[in-house]
């Protein structure tokens, strides 16, 4: 019996020592697990982003490289950039201020994903509002988007461009457009995905046909030349919906045409000049 008492006592003391050890390492362990929870949430968010968001916001969140989810072809990005300074940098970011948002950045992003952006092609994603995602999925997605915030992104200058009202004023400020480069840009900006390639006879698939835009453009809005009309429509596609698309009357407003070209071309406004040169054959 004495042996049993000894074994039992030793076992109990060892148990206590192990428990004491686990208490001591607890603060570090909790930190690890808090980081692991966020890390795994970001991983799950990355998968959700790839499957649901990348075809409008781009594979790297910059709204530059978007692929059609069915065919895998390069298409124009419809969404706003997310890997983007005015959305992510600082506690109260530019977009939050523009929306007069009083809550946190996390809440801003979650709420935008959950309820969508009325008047644009961004749908509601939360199952509370008829979308497909549960609250935990929206949280994972928001964590993934927030993870784009980095020193590299936030230390760079904010690039904006003040677009002139009139196309003449705009063109006067830049060298003459290069039509050949404009044709290349017409593809990389994703325009050709919907409008085809006018001078090669590749027909428009979704958007209005642009092969005779120099003539038809002038008839669309009273008081606007064809060039002014195209310039205005690239920057603000919702202001006028063209009457004829390949699949019947064009839908909208909101227009199916992405509204983010004023942002995307801000880094190099010469692109606009080149694309106009391509379309109008100057």
């Amino acid at each position: 019996m004495q042996v049993k008492v000894a074994i039992g006592t030793i076992a109990l003391m060892l148990t206590m020592v192990i428990l004491g050890y686990s208490v001591l390492r607890e603060p570090t362990r909790l930190e690890h697990f808090a980081a692991a929870e966020l890390g795994r949430s970001i991983e799950t968010g990355a998968n959700l982003y790839n499957n649901n968001c990348a075809n409008c916001h781009g594979v790297d969140g910059k709204s530059e490289e978007c692929y059609d989810s069915a065919s895998g072809e390069l298409i124009g990005c419809q969404g706003l950039p997310l890997n983007y300074q005015p959305l992510l940098c600082g506690d109260a970011t530019d977009r939050m201020i523009a929306m007069n948002w009083q809550g946190t950045k996390q809440a801003f992003i979650q709420s935008t994903i959950a309820s969508g952006r009325p008047g644009t092609v961004m749908p509601t994603w939360s199952d509370q509002f008829g979308g497909p995602m549960r609250p935990d999925q929206i949280r994972n997605l928001a964590n993934f988007v927030l993870n784009w915030e980095s020193e590299e992104l936030c230390s760079g200058p904010v690039i904006t461009f003040d677009w002139a009202e009139n196309v003449e004023d705009f063109l006067a400020a830049f060298p003459d457009g290069d039509g050949a480069n404009g044709k290349a840009l017409f593809v990389t900006y994703g325009c050709s995905g919907c409008h085809g390639v006018p001078d090669e006879g590749v027909a428009a698939a979704v958007g209005p046909d642009l092969s005779a835009i120099a003539e038809t453009g002038a008839t669309r809005v009273e008081g606007q030349t064809a060039e002014q009309y195209v310039y205005h429509s690239i920057l603000l596609p919702n202001d006028f919906i063209a009457p004829e698309c390949p699949n019947g009357p064009c839908a909208g407003p909101p227009s199916a045409m992405p509204a983010n070209f004023s942002l995307r071309m801000a880094t190099n406004p010469q692109d606009m000049s080149d694309i106009l040169a391509y379309l109008f054959g100057n």
Binding site: L12, E37, E43, N147
Partner: protein, 551 residues
Amino acid sequence: MATFFDQVKEMGFKQAFVAKSDEAVERLTAGMNISDIRSALRGDEPRRPNPRLRPHADGFWLHIRPSFYHNEITRVYPTFHLGWLSTFMFVWETITGIFLMIFYTPSPLIAYSNMWNILSNVPLGQLMRNMHRLGAEVMVLVVALHMLRTFVTGSYKKPRQFTWVTGMLLLVLTLMLSFSGYLLPWDQLSYWALTVFLSGAESAPAPPVINQNILLILQGGPSLGAGGLLRWYLLHVLLMPLLLGIFFFVHYYKVVLHGFSLPPGREEIGEDSAKRVPKNERTYFIPDILTSEVMWTALLSLFLVAGALWFWDAPLEHHADPVVTPLHVVAPWYLSWSQGWLKLAPKTLVIGFIPALLVAFIVMPYFEIGKSRRYADRRVGLSIAMLFIAFMMVSNWMGTPRFRVQSSPDMEVATKLLPQEGVSPILGIPPDYLWEGEYLPGQVVDGNPHLTYGLEVFAQQMVRHSCTNYPGTTIGGSVLDDCEENDHRMPDPYATMTITQVQNGLMGIDINISALDPENPDNYLYSLNWPSFRHVDSNYEEECTFINKRC
């Protein structure tokens, strides 16, 4: 009676304090004072009248315990202390379970984040959860072994048939308790295990109206959701423990009533002498049995605490998702046999057979009425038991995905390396060693043993699931088998693994596998892009250190 102050006046503080402590201890133990306890621990003969019998007569806790046992049953054989250890496991699960209850809400909206809160925000939360989950597995094992022991020593025979009946009910309740706890984390593992269970309940051999209503009651609505989670939570924390507690007392009362059965060879055939223990063959509960029980309790606690800290980690998969079915849905090991049976026979037959088997077990002692408990006289019964155990083990193996449910070979390779749930040799690579680039299976990366190991496993998996039409082709140094007719393996595949940086701290790991159709070389027979992500903080490498999650 003199008050403490009177005593202090009379004999001084020290003397009075000793006397008062002695009195307090005697009251707490219902009859043993300090010197009685010390003499018991020293192993001295008790004084007369024996104070060590008084806690049984006057105390609450010991009044249901016998005051002495037969010498023959106090050793490890024949009981292996499994009954006591089962009882202890129930207490252990209750204590750790109450701790976890404090941090848990049974709602699909937050149950899963509660689990992460327990892991990342509750001091000792992970240890408590691991101890509870490991304890559940150990409890199932201990209770099952207890039943096996009772069968082998023939202790279910007359007059102990009803003890066996209550024991069988306790076994079923233990399994149900363990399984009902399975659902509560609301992760993919829970959700799909319960979904399989419920689809079984739905196909029981009964009229549809009964099956559908049982299903409705069990899942709390037309589909498994908030209602179902609440119901299974209440089953787990309220109904099952209550029933188990009730049957435990019936069971133990019957054990004491009939006495502990002696080893089979110890008594005449047909005789039951458990209740007549000669004076010279008695072992008293205090101190011998009590110290023995405390020792086993301490040893099992040590095993559970150390196991939960270093060796065994409770799984937690992704959030439950009704629209994403995992590649392999696996039952817990103690129910894996039923999954094996489902692969052999129609569902309705299997689901009908299980309760029938259970009833057969319960009523067995009333039909198996051979008088002798000796092993030599029970050759048929013991052989049947051995065959049954072997059958259950094979069934358990058949319940695993290795038997008959392999999916396409490219998916098998991809999910082995980058599984939808849990860890793997690739996910276990420490983040510092996830170097960007494109790699081939079996490639050796200089200065990077972790990545090299991952690619070696990649090669092994590719070899296992591939064949070749050009004899002698190798992957990672191993020669591929030649393709046969109707081969389900990939013919001469090409596979790569690409590691890219996606975001700060987030790596993308893609596996690409393709194989051309030998009959029609313009077509891909297999073409898979399997993307996955790994965050530097996700801590998979630490998860890999537990022996139940090896990478």
